[in-house]
């Protein structure tokens, strides 16, 4: 039991994060203080939220490259709503963000399900379309901090039991989706559809429909993150979170989610996101030339993936022992 636990990917990744933190602490001891680690977790929360959604999509043999654009579009819409109606309660803003994000995710899902277009093509297309829509909506203008209402900006920063709301939302999402993935039929269907689509079809699962729901969930989380993002950075414009979809996919891959589908856990996505988050937050303080920083984060991703690939390799099963010996 203990051996199996030690060999599990999550434990190895947790160990890697520990080693990373220890290394950083030798150069900048202040990094490992509880307050700073809480700050790192808070900063990584948007990545965690998106990585959980992306994990579900990847489980079903799909990929969602439109998450960052979905985030930016939802963020722009809610901030424009806030400018137009500053008195609107935050609950409504949250509902709009989740609702719009889900709708955008469903567009991806429908195209994949009904038209059977490869997901990478669909989401590349919608990624550009969403960014274009932001431009049309905003006329290319920014929504700035002084135009947003105080309540709009305060929500993710509100402290509850010592942690900001942004962190709590990430924690809640991790718990919720751990339950969904392990305890519900839909959650198990995601694994089944990605692990072996043919077998899933024979057991009566609709592969396309399951993928549709995966995109809807990913969209909902992206929409929610959209509001949190514009509110946290107190600015909204066309390019926010540009290129962030790649970080999200990287977090999933580091977290041991198989790009081929069917393998992965919410815990893995969480740890993958945290691994990247620690690197992103540590690089500015460990006094490494900015010219090296990109190379370092890139290497970390490749090392993690190479490690995962090795760990993933299954030994071939020998079914004819005698034949092997004679050969």
């Amino acid at each position: 039991m203990l051996k199996r636990l030690l060999a599990s990917r999550e434990v190895i990744l947790l160990g890697a994060i520990g080693v990373l933190l220890a290394l950083i602490a030798t150069r900048f001891p202040g990094f490992v203080t509880p307050a700073n680690l809480a700050g790192v977790f808070n900063d990584t929360s948007p990545l965690i939220l998106l990585a959980v959604g992306q994990m579900i999509v990847i489980l079903t043999k799909c990929i969602d490259l439109s998450v960052a654009a979905n985030l930016a579009l939802t963020g722009m819409v809610v901030s424009m709503i806030n400018v137009a109606a500053p008195g609107l309660p935050i609950v409504v803003i949250l509902l709009v963000a989740v609702g719009l994000g889900t709708a955008l995710g469903m567009i991806n899902g429908l195209l994949v399900w009904k038209l059977a277009i490869p997901p990478i093509v669909v989401t590349l297309g919608t990624m550009t379309i969403f960014r274009g829509m932001i431009f049309l909506l905003s006329d290319g203008k920014w929504v700035n901090s002084h135009e947003m209402s105080d309540a709009f900006k305060a929500f993710p920063r509100a402290q509850v039991l010592g942690l900001p709301m942004l962190s709590w939302i990430a924690i809640a999402a991790v718990i919720l989706f751990t339950l969904v993935m392990t305890r519900t039929t839909l959650g198990r269907a995601f694994y089944a559809v990605g692990g072996n689509p043919h077998a899933a079809t024979y057991t009566g699962l609709n592969v396309g429909k399951t993928q549709f729901w995966a995109f809807a969930i990913s969209g909902a989380l992206a929409g929610l993150t959209g509001y949190l993002w514009v509110s946290r950075y107190a600015v909204s414009y066309v390019d926010i979170a540009g290129g962030f979809e790649l970080d999200v996919v990287a977090a999933c891959v580091i977290g041991g989610i198989s790009i081929a589908g069917g393998i992965g856990t919410v815990g893995g996505a969480l740890l993958g996101a945290l691994f990247l988050g620690v690197i992103k937050n540590a690089l500015p303080v460990v006094n490494i030339s900015p010219f090296w920083q990109l190379a370092i984060s890139g290497s970390a991703i490749i090392i993690a993936v190479a490690f995962n690939a090795r760990a993933n390799r299954e030994k071939g099963r020998i079914i004819l022992k005698s034949a092997e010996h004679t050969a």
């Binding site: 900048f28 202040g30 990094f31 700073n36 700050g39 900063d43 431009f135 905003s138 006329d139 290319g140 203008k141 920014w142 700035n144 901090s145 002084h146 135009e147 920063r157 993002w229 950075y233 107190a234 600015v235 414009y237 066309v238 390019d239 926010i240 979170a241 540009g242 290129g243 962030f244 992103k280 937050n281 690089l283 500015p284 303080v285 006094n287 900015p290 010219f291």
Partner: protein, 333 residues
């Protein structure tokens, strides 16, 4: 990034009708056309205000503020052709394309019309004078001056730039380093790069405050970086300890000025720009000045400019925005 923002701003064009001169003109009135990238943009509306101010000061000048309804060179060519047909005395243009306007503007000059470009220039053969809002040395000096002005006893400052390869930012930082000797006691402790991404700039600003607990100012010569740094300082509760300054747009920085995270920042002033462009056009058209390298042209309250080898000149230091004037400008651009 600042340039990119303007371009984005330019794309947002409201409908506007062109109003071409049907007014009867007295012979002694000089008509100067201010041709902008597109109508309906706050930045250029402000420049037009400056042009009107210059016209009022000069007395016998009528300003025709015009431009296409979208930011295309074709649109500007049409507008300029119509101005040539009307026989205006001078054209001052902020162009949408360096080269495309040249043939049309040459035609205008052949008809004896004074042609200058301002803000966004045209190639030297297409104009007599080009007016830049500022110059690299002036900007380099301004960004460190903004920080130093609030640090009479010296202190530690850090730079938050765009990407490591941004030409503009690198040139400004280089120019800044040349004049560091004029600001004794000010020490630049680090230069970091936020890649013009809000989240990375925010994180880099946080990193600066952690690595340098005695940091007094963050200088961000980029519009994304300065906004993100101001937010990071506000979130870290360091308003008053760390002053964020650099180059930004009033509409984007109004919140940071209000919260106190930024005491002041700079960018060119569109009103001064329109004023100066009109003054130059007037001086050339009335033959009070000639357009040749080394020539000096008086531009009213803005002082004077000296033309360089390509007949281009820099107007002035970037204009400083702080709590006293931010409300006036935040709705303009």
């Amino acid at each position: 990034m600042i340039r990119r923002n303007f371009t984005k701003l330019l794309a947002g064009v409201s409908l506007a009708t062109s109003f071409m001169g049907t007014t009867a003109m007295a012979d002694d009135t000089m008509r100067i056309a201010l041709v902008v990238k597109a109508l309906g943009i706050g930045f250029f509306e402000a420049a037009a205000k400056g042009a009107e101010e210059a016209a009022a000061e000069l007395g016998n000048v009528e300003v025709i503020y015009t431009g296409p309804t979208d930011t295309t060179a074709e649109g500007q060519i049409e507008v300029i052709n119509s101005l040539i047909a009307q026989g205006v005395d001078a054209i001052a243009v902020s162009s949408n394309d360096t080269d495309a306007l040249v043939p049309t503007l040459k035609k205008a000059m052949q008809r004896g019309i004074t042609v200058i470009s301002w803000d966004s220039g045209v190639a030297p053969e297409g104009r007599q004078v080009h007016l830049n809002p500022s110059s690299n040395p002036l900007i380099g000096n301004m960004i460190i001056k903004l920080a130093a002005d609030h640090l009479p006893d010296g202190g530690e400052v850090a730079l938050l730039s765009a990407t490591t390869t941004s030409t503009n930012q690198n040139v400004w930082i280089e120019e800044m380093n040349k004049v560091m000797g004029n600001y004794p006691g000010i020490e630049v402790v680090a230069t970091v790069y936020g890649d013009d991404l809000a989240d990375k700039s925010y994180r880099e600003a946080q990193g600066l405050m952690q690595s340098y607990p005695d940091l007094d100012a963050i200088i961000a010569p980029t519009s994304v970086g300065i906004v993100a740094a101001a937010q990071a300082v506000a979130d870290a509760g360091k308003i008053g300890e760390v002053n964020v300054t650099g180059l930004g747009l009033p509409s984007e920085m109004a919140g940071a000025i209000e919260s106190g995270a930024s005491k002041s920042f700079a960018i060119w002033n569109p009103i001064d720009l329109g004023y100066s462009a009109t003054m130059i056009a007037y001086q050339l058209a009335s033959e009070n000045a000639v357009a040749e390298p080394g020539a000096t042209i008086e531009i009213g309250r803005m002082g004077s400019i000296t033309l360089d080898d390509t007949n281009a000149a820099a107007m002035a230091d970037p204009f400083v925005y702080d709590s006293s004037n931010i409300d006036q400008f935040k709705s303009i651009f």
